[in-house]
Amino acid sequence: MHPGIIFFLVILGSVLFHIFTPWYWTDVASNWGGMDDTITLTFWVGGGVFVAVCLFMVYCVFKFSYKEDRKAEYKPEDKKLEKILTWATTLGVIALLAPGLVIWNQYITVPKNALQIDVMAWQWGWQYRLPGKDGKLGTTQITNINENNPFGINLDDPYGKDDVMVQTDVLNLENNKPVKILLRSVDVLHNWYVPQFRAKMDAVPGIVTYYWFEPNKTGEYEVLCAEYCGVGHYAMRGRVIVQDNQDYENWMQEQETFSDLVAKQKALEVEKTKLAKK
C-alpha cells in the first residue's frame, strides 16, 4: 500500500473524530460563551490550515514519488508566492487574535455590580466569605488566622464585622448575578476552576487574584483545583450550587456572620469560666 493512503486516512480520521466525538466540552453555564465561540472560530481556521497543509502533502507524495527518469524542479525561491503566503498567514492570525483580545478585555474588566467573594484555599480545601449588608469585604491577614478567626479578618476593620462566612467547600451562587472571585491562598498555589463556567485563575499566597463570571444555569457543579498544589491536589474538590433568587436568599439567611461567630465564641468562653467557677 502506498504510504500516502495511510497519511490520508489519518487526516480523514481526525476530521471524522472531531465531527462525531462523544467527548466535547460541557454545556457552558456562565456568560463566557464567547470563549467557546473563539474556540470554534480557531477550529475552523486552524483546522482548515491543518487539513489543507496535510492534504497538499499527501498529494505531493502521490504525485511526485520517486521515478528514475523524473527530474525535480529547480527553483530556489519564489518571492511572489512567499509574499502571498506571509500576508495570508498574517491575516489569518489577526482574525484569530482580534476576537480573543476583545473577550480578554471583558474577562479582566469586572462589572461594578459584581458580588465580591473571598475564596480562600489551603492544602487541601476551600472556604468562602461573602460581604454582609454593607456590601464590602473586610481586609484580612494570614497571620490573624486562628480558631476564632478562620479567615484572618482584621479585627479593627469595620467592614469585616458583618462578613458572611461559609466554612464548607460548598458555595451557593445566585443565578444571573455577576460574581467577582477574589482568590487567596494561605500556603501554596491553587486554582478554583469549574469547567462549566470556563473561567479560572490561580490563587497565589501573598497576593489576591481575581476573575469574574455570571452563572446563567441553575444546578450543581463540581469545583476542581486546577493548579498542582502537592500530593492532595487531585482530591481538592468543592461544589457550587447555582440557585434562583428566592432559594439563594433563604440559604443566605442561614449563614453565620463574623460577628455571630465572635459572639458565639464569647458566650462559650463565659460559659467556660462559669463552669470553672462552679
Partner: protein
C-alpha cells in the same frame, strides 16, 4: 595577521589548488578567499581511555551524548508507562501511591525536556554534525567539549541519585513551582528537590561549555568558502538554538540557585508569608510568581532550543530525499533567526492564569501569535519542497512526513493556547498535555528518528534495515497520534492535568474508555522504540555497507575521505566550498546533485542559480 598565515605552507597548497583547479573554464570563477587562520592542531587519543572515554573528538562526544541522552530517555519512557498504567487502569500497579505518581510525572517531564531532547539535539547532533557540516576538523575547544559531556554525565548521575535518597525525587511537577516545591505536602521536598536543583545547575554549567564550542566553531572555524548563507539549515538550527540556550539557561540557573537558598538558608526569594498546619512559617515577602517568570523565561526559549535544531534537520532531510533544493532557503534562515529572537518575548503565555497582572495578557497573546507567522512559513516551505520533487519514499522520508503532520497539528493547538481567551478554559487541562506532547514530544522525536536513519550510514558505515524501520515508523506514528489526538478532547471536557485519580466526576467518567485506550497505545509506542535498538544491533553486525555518500547528498558531512570519518575529519586538506548545500536536480547537470565542493568551472554549462 592574514598575511602571516598566508605564508603557512598548508594554506598555500590549498589556494594554489583552487587557482589551478577546474576543467578548462575560467579559473577566476573558482576563486575562494584564502583561510585566515592556520589548521587546527588536534590531540589524538592513543589509549582506549583517551579514544573512547575521555575523548576529545567531537564525533565520539556526540555519540556519547546521544547514548547517555537515550539512556535517560528510556528511563523517562518507563516512567511514562507507569503513569499511563495508573491513569488507564487505576490501582493496577499496587505500589503506586499519589506520591509516586507525582514523582514519576515530575521526573518524566524534566528528563524528557532537558536531559533527553536538549542533550540529544545539541550535545548529540550538534557535536557530531557541526564540525563536519561546516568543514572544520573538530570543535574549536576539544578539551572543554570533553568536560562538557562529563558534566552532563555527573548531572544525570545526580538526577538519578535522587531516586534513592530519603523522600525520593521531587514530585513538584517539572515546572518546580514554589512554594509547594520546597514545602511538606509535596513529595521529595527535602533532598529530592535539592538534588534536582544541583543537577540542573551542573547541566547548565556543562551545557555552557558545549554551547561555547558550537557557537565559536560555527562563527570561527568554517572552512574556506563556507559563508553563513551557504550553511546547511541543520547548522543554522543548532547554532540559533545554542544562542537561545546561552541566554535562557542562566534564568533557570538563578531560579534553581535561589530556590535552593530558600530551602537551605531560609531566604524568601519565592516565599511569601505561609500558614501551614496552623503555624506561620518563617518566610515572608517573597513572590512565587517571580519564579514562574524566571522559569518560563528559560522555559519558552527551551521549546525552541528543541524545535530549531529539529526544524533545521528536517529541512535537510526533506531536501535530500526529495532530490530538490529546500524551498526559500533565505526565508528559512531568517525564520529560524526570527523565531529565536521572538521566543524571548512570549514566555508569559504560560502564565495567563497565574495571577500575574492580567494586562500582560494582551502583550503576550500578540507576540505569541506573531511567532506563528514565521513558523507557518517554515511549514509552507517544507511542503513546497516536496512539490515537484522526486520523493524517495524511504524510512527517512516517512519520519519527515510524520513530523509535518504532528508538528502542524501541535502548532495549530498552540494557536489555541497562545490566544489568551482560549487559554483560560483550556490551561491546566489535558488539552495542554496533548498540545505540548504533540508539538514538542512527538514532532521532535520524528526528527530524531529520521535523523538516525539518515545519518546512521555515516556514523556506522551501514544502512539501517528499511523493513524494521518502516515497522518502527508506523507503530510510532500511528500509535503516538492516537495517544495525543483524542487527548485534546479530554481537555475540552475539562479534565485537569496532574490528577492522580479522577474519582467519579460526572464529566470524566465518560472518558474512562478513552483513558484505557490511550494507555494501551502508550505501552505499544514505547515498546516499538526497542525495534530501533534491535535494528541498530542487527545493522552493526550484518547491515548493508553504505559506502561514501549513499544518499547522494550535497552537504559536506558526506564528503569526508573516509566513511565513517576519522578524527580530524578531512585527511590532509580541508574541503573548499563553492556553493550552498542544496544544488539538487540542477538543469543540465550530469547527476541530480552537485556537491558543495564542486567548483563552478566544472558545472559551468548548467543552470545553477545560486552559489
Amino acid at each position: 595577521m592574514s598575511e602571516d598565515f598566508n605564508d603557512n605552507k598548508t594554506i598555500q597548497a590549498q589556494s594554489s589548488e583552487t587557482i589551478s583547479g577546474g576543467s578548462g573554464a575560467s579559473p577566476d570563477m573558482d576563486y575562494v578567499r584564502p583561510a585566515e587562520v592556520g589548521d587546527q592542531d588536534l590531540y589524538h587519543g592513543h589509549s582506549f581511555i583517551t579514544k573512547w572515554i575521555f575523548c576529545q573528538d567531537a564525533k565520539v562526544i556526540g555519540v556519547q551524548y546521544f547514548l547517555l541522552a537515550t539512556f535517560t530517555g528510556i528511563i523517562g519512557l518507563i516512567l511514562s508507562w507507569l503513569m499511563r498504567l495508573q491513569l488507564g487502569f487505576p490501582g493496577a500497579a499496587g505500589f503506586m501511591t499519589a506520591e509516586h505518581y507525582y514523582q514519576f510525572v515530575t521526573m518524566h517531564g524534566m528528563i524528557m525536556v532537558v536531559y533527553f531532547l536538549t542533550a540529544l539535539f545539541l550535545g548529540g547532533f550538534g557535536n557530531y554534525l557541526i564540525p563536519l557540516m561546516v568543514g572544520a576538523r573538530d570543535m574549536v575547544f576539544p578539551y572543554l567539549n570533553m568536560v562538557s559531556f562529563w558534566m552532563f554525565f555527573i548531572a544525570v548521575g545526580v538526577l538519578l541519585a535522587s531516586f534513592f535518597v530519603p523522600g525520593g525525587p521531587t514530585g513538584a511537577g517539572w515546572t518546580l513551582y514554589p512554594p509547594q516545591t520546597i514545602l511538606e505536602g509535596t513529595p521529595g521536598s527535602g533532598m529530592g528537590i535539592l538534588l534536582m536543583c544541583l543537577s540542573l545547575i551542573l547541566f547548565v554549567a556543562g551545557f555552557t561549555m558545549g554551547g561555547l564550542n558550537y557557537l565559536i566553531t560555527v562563527l570561527q572555524a568554517r572552512t574556506r568558502g563556507m559563508t553563513l548563507m551557504r550553511m546547511p539549515l541543520t547548522v543554522w538550527g543548532i547554532f540559533t538554538a545554542t544562542v537561545l540556550a546561552m541566554l535562557a539557561f542562566p534564568a533557570l540557573l538563578v531560579g534553581a540557585l535561589m530556590m535552593s537558598l530558600d530551602k537551605v538558608l531560609g531566604t524568601s526569594f519565592f516565599m511569601p508569608t505561609i500558614l501551614k498546619a496552623g503555624e506561620v512559617l518563617e518566610y515572608g515577602g517573597g513572590s512565587p510568581i517571580l519564579f514562574q517568570h524566571l522559569f518560563w523565561f528559560f522555559g519558552h526559549p527551551e521549546v525552541y532550543i528543541v524545535a530549531l535544531p529539529a526544524f533545521g534537520i528536517i529541512s535537510d532531510l526533506i531536501s535530500v530525499h526529495s532530490r530538490k533544493n529546500i524551498f526559500g532557503y533565505r526565508m528559512m534562515v531568517w525564520a529560524i533567526v526570527g523565531i529565536g529572537g521572538l521566543s524571548f518575548f512570549v514566555w508569559a503565555h504560560h502564565m495567563y492564569v497565574s495571577g500575574m497582572n492580567p494586562w500582560f495578557g494582551f502583550f503576550f497573546a500578540t507576540t505569541t501569535l506573531i511567532i506563528a507567522v514565521p513558523t507557518a512559513m517554515k511549514v509552507y516551505n517544507w511542503i513546497l519542497t516536496l512539490w515537484r520533487g522526486n520523493i524517495r519514499m524511504n524510512t527517512v522520508m516517512l519520519w519527515c512526513l510524520g513530523f509535518i503532520v504532528t508538528f502542524v497539528n501541535g502548532g495549530i493547538t498552540g494557536i489555541f493556547l497562545g490566544n489568551v481567551t482560549v487559554d483560560v478554559p483550556l490551561s491546566d487541562t489535558y488539552f495542554v498535555i496533548a498540545h505540548f506532547h504533540m508539538v514538542m514530544g512527538i514532532a521532535p522525536l520524528m526528527v530524531i528518528m529520521g535523523a538516525v536513519y539518515h545519518w546512521f550510514p555515516l556514523v556506522a558505515g551501514r544502512f539501517l534495515d528499511e523493513k524494521l524501520g518502516k515497522w518502527h515508523f508506523w507503530t510510532t506514528f500511528l500509535g503516538a497520534y492516537s495517544i495525543y489526538f483524542p487527548m485534546h478532547y479530554l481537555g475540552f471536557i475539562g479534565v485537569p492535568r496532574r490528577y492522580f485519580e479522577m474519582y467519579d466526576s460526572p464529566y470524566v467518567t465518560s472518558a474512562t474508555g478513552m483513558n484505557e485506550f490511550i494507555s494501551l497505545a502508550a505501552f505499544l509506542v514505547g515498546a516499538a522504540q526497542f525495534i530501533l535498538i534491535f535494528n541498530i544491533i542487527k545493522t552493526l553486525k550484518t547491515g548493508k555497507p553504505a559506502g561514501s555518500n549513499p544518499w547522494k547528498a550535497c552537504s559536506l558531512e558526506w564528503l569526508t575521505p573516509t566513511v565513517p570519518p576519522e578524527h580530524g575529519n578531512w585527511g590532509d586538506r580541508l574541503p573548499v566550498v563553492h556553493r550552498w548545500a542544496y544544488d539538487y536536480s540542477v538543469p543540465g547537470a550530469k547527476e541530480d546533485f552537485i556537491t558543495q565542493t564542486t567548483p563552478p568551472s566544472e558545472v559551468a554549462d548548467t543552470g545553477v542559480e545560486k552559489t
